[in-house]
């Protein structure tokens, strides 16, 4: 074990979903006392907020925090490539672990590749084949840059094999199931305070939906005509767009059944998910979170494609597109369903982080 001092895993996370899903891996690395360096790339939250977020989840402090000055995507990626490649040059990690499909992932994988370090990609092999999504490029490129690919499901592995990626593929399950188990007791203290017995939880944030006036108008119609009151934690950008397109008044106007919340913390969001009737979303992560045995809810996806078809196939939800009539029809069907959603998650048994960690340790 003497050698292990100099050999370590560089774990990189920058955005909230990355921190959430990398959390169990970090906890596991800590538990097995594997040497690692935790790097916070600081992609889209200001320093204090992301610190608070990490503390809230009970994760260890990042060893290195980056502060980015750029704000538009390319400059941000470029800045991250430069800074992270310098860190890799100095720390010489055996393996660089990244998670998901954000710009941080692409930048880190590129930097590691240029510096000759090995890359491990957690949550590899997801594809929506929708090239309007910037994440689709990040996913694809990161997978082709990786030396080890941790695919959550068999389906993902098949996708990767079909694309002939260079790295080695391991099926592990998705760490989000582990994450919810790990944070569940922390979430119990969160209170949710509004007078509804049953409500529909809605989230929208995706650029290709929010930036289009037509799509947003359809969504507002869905929220107003939904069979139950809608609770809508709102991303600041979505709010800005709603106001810009003149839909804000219509959304919260008189007698509206829409309850708009400020952006909520992750733990509170878990609570909101636990007690809702069903979920209307365009997010990627939510599709996985609902399948956790601790939550077990159905969702209606307001997008034309999904990179996570396993949840749909298992019967947790439907892909409804962006047209109000279709979404409302599917929503009506989902709400009246008597049968509870499946008890098992298609994303694994909650031991994904352990598998990943075992593999990471074997490379040291």
């Amino acid at each position: 074990m003497e050698r292990a001092k100099y050999l370590s895993v560089l774990v990189v996370a920058g955005t909230r979903p990355e921190i959430v899903k990398m959390g169990p891996v970090i906890t596991e690395l800590e538990r097995t006392s594997t040497p690692y360096v935790f790097l916070n790339s600081g992609q889209h939250y200001d320093f204090e907020l992301s610190q608070l977020f990490i503390q809230e989840l009970g994760l260890p402090e990042p060893n290195i925090n980056l502060r980015l000055s750029a704000s538009n995507p390319s400059e941000q990626i470029a800045e991250m490539i430069l800074k992270i490649s310098r860190i890799i040059r100095n720390t010489r990690p055996t393996l660089v672990a990244v998670q998901g499909d954000t710009n941080t992932v692409l930048a880190t994988a590129l930097a590691a590749n240029r510096e000759g370090a090995k890359v491990a990609h957690v949550e590899a092999g997801l594809r929506s084949y929708d090239l309007r999504m910037p994440e689709e490029y990040n996913r694809r490129l990161a997978d082709h840059l990786s030396d080890v690919l941790f695919a959550p499901t068999h389906h993902n592995k098949q996708t990767l094999l079909g694309e002939k990626v260079c790295g080695r593929i391991e099926i592990t399950g998705n760490t989000v199931v582990d994450a919810i188990q790990q944070y569940w007791h922390l979430a119990q203290n969160e209170s949710i305070d509004f007078p509804y017995e049953s409500y529909i939880l809605a989230t929208i944030h995706r650029a290709e939906n929010v930036d289009s006036k037509d799509v947003l108008r359809e969504f507002v119609r869905v929220f107003k005509e939904a069979p139950f009151p809608v609770v809508l934690p709102l991303h600041p950008r979505t709010k800005k767009r709603l106001k810009q397109f003149g839909l804000w008044r219509r959304l919260i106007g008189d007698g509206s059944q829409v309850q708009v919340l400020k952006p909520v913390g992750y733990l509170r969001f878990l609570r909101l998910m636990k007690y809702c009737t069903c979920i209307l979303t365009d997010s990627g992560g939510v599709q996985e979170e609902v399948t956790s045995p601790l939550i077990r809810k159905r969702f209606v996806l307001m997008r034309i494609s999904t990179e996570r078809p396993e949840a749909v196939k298992a019967g947790f939800g439907v892909v409804a597109g962006c047209k109000a009539a279709v979404i409302l029809r599917e929503l009506g069907r989902v709400v009246t369903m008597k049968k509870p959603p499946p008890a098992r998650s298609p994303y694994g048994d909650g031991r994904a982080s352990r598998r990943i960690c075992t593999y990471l340790r074997s490379t040291l």
Binding site: S85, Y129, L131, Y137, R140, L141
Partner: protein, 412 residues
């Protein structure tokens, strides 16, 4: 019935899109044309893009072409010379990224291209080859959702080198891919890049070669006379790849072998700035007097030297191909090649950078006297009209880009 349901589902899930982008219409004498940028930055890119630029400029009434030069190669002999020789238009923008590590260069090019595209607002950006310029500009553009066309797509050598990453990643983020050979199309197909957006175009380097064929003899005679070399009685060598040059032992081995060969047959060694610097660092001294070190040569000089040489020793991708097309045997100092066609019939040999290997291959190649068939006839690299096809492909794409989209999973 099943089809009908699937079709209904597809319609429900589709986003309203205009079927055809606004056509190029002349309004009161002002022509609305599709704005397209083409990015160059390194020596091979100037060569690959030259015939293409000429061809796209013929579509002047519908395409408004601008050249962006990233300045990845900043040496005069590696860049400026080509603007004059290949009659490239003046760039609308110079990014001047200069030297630096791979990471730095890629990052700088990304930022530069992002700013360029934000300012110039093109509908399509054309990139070529496999350099940091290619990847950096492709990334910078797709992040702004500007479609990218990749010329010379689908080439794979399956080696662990930065160029391989550049190729792979650029292919995976391009909306339009022009493969020079059938192997290229097959490689793309294997990686799941298929359908309308992949086009077999042929190689633009062959276009340029054919166009310049009449001048080869004249330029060749001149440079041979200056160097006191006689046709078919010398070897033309270039070495620049990181795997060979940045490794002390490989570099020493290669130079020692070349030096030995030079005692038998004089070598014209066109030396890349990086190789020169590295040779100085490693302190390689004992060189044969017949090993003629020369600064990088221009395109015409290079093809003339290739045509007249008895043998070419190189690690460059382009030169392998030019040697093959001009019928000169070639020894390639690499483990693998992205141009497997050149290996046909032993016209090109792959060797490792180990002591004696290059020498042995040299002996074998000279003894075998294998000359490749001139491939305008067998069309391994197209028929010399690749640029025409690419230009047509691009103008077709610009008329209705939506038809080229990768289909969502549910529509497949």
């Amino acid at each position: 019935m099943v089809l009908l349901i699937a079709w209904k589902r597809f319609i429900e899930l589709s986003v309203p899109l205009p079927a055809v982008s606004p056509p190029a219409i002349a309004v009161e004498g002002v022509c609305l044309r599709h704005k397209v940028l083409i990015v160059t930055g390194t020596r091979p890119q100037f060569i690959k893009c030259a015939p293409l630029i000429e061809e796209i400029l013929k579509h002047r009434d519908e395409i408004d072409l601008g050249l962006v030069n990233t300045g990845q190669h900043y040496d005069k002999m590696m860049s400026e010379v080509f603007f004059e020789e290949l009659a490239l238009p003046r760039p609308v923008l110079e990014l001047d990224v200069g030297s630096g590590s791979h990471a730095t260069q890629t990052a700088r090019i990304m930022v530069g291209m992002e700013q360029a595209t934000m300012r110039l607002d093109p509908e399509l950006v054309i990139v070529a080859g496999d350099t940091n310029t290619t990847l950096g500009s492709a990334l910078g553009c797709v992040k702004l959702r500007i479609p990218v066309a990749h010329v010379e797509a689908g080439m794979r050598s399956y080696e662990d080198m930065p160029e391989e990453t550049n190729r792979r990643l650029t292919d995976h983020c391009s909306s339009l891919l022009f493969a020079p050979t059938r192997t290229g199309v097959r490689n793309l197909y294997r990686e799941g890049i298929q359908g309308k957006r992949v086009l077999l175009s042929g190689d633009t380097m062959l276009d340029l070669l054919l166009r310049n064929a009449p001048y080869i003899d004249h330029v060749g005679a001149e440079i041979l006379e200056r160097q006191r070399l006689s046709a078919r009685r010398y070897v033309y060598a270039t070495v620049h790849r990181a795997a060979n040059v940045d490794n002390d032992r490989s570099l020493t081995n290669i130079v020692a072998d070349l030096s030995e060969i030079a005692d038998e047959l004089p070598i014209f060694f066109a030396i890349h700035p990086r190789t020169r610097k590295r040779m100085r660092d490693v302190k390689i001294r004992r060189l044969s007097g017949k090993l003629l070190l020369h600064r990088p040569v221009s395109y015409l000089q290079s093809i003339s030297l290739t045509k007249n040489a008895a043998l070419v020793i190189t690690d460059s991708g382009g030169l392998q191909k030019e040697a093959f097309l001009l019928g000169t045997p070639c020894v390639t100092v690499r483990k693998n090649t992205e141009w497997p066609e050149t290996l046909l019939g032993g016209a090109n040999r792959l060797v490792a950078p180990m002591r004696g290997c290059i020498r042995n291959a040299f002996n074998d190649a000279l003894r075998a006297r294998t000359r490749s068939r001139v491939s305008t006839r067998n069309r391994l690299f197209g028929n010399g009209k690749a640029a025409v096809r690419i230009a047509e492909g691009i103008s077709k794409y610009l008329k209705c880009p939506h038809q080229y989209r990768d289909q969502p999973a549910y529509a497949r």
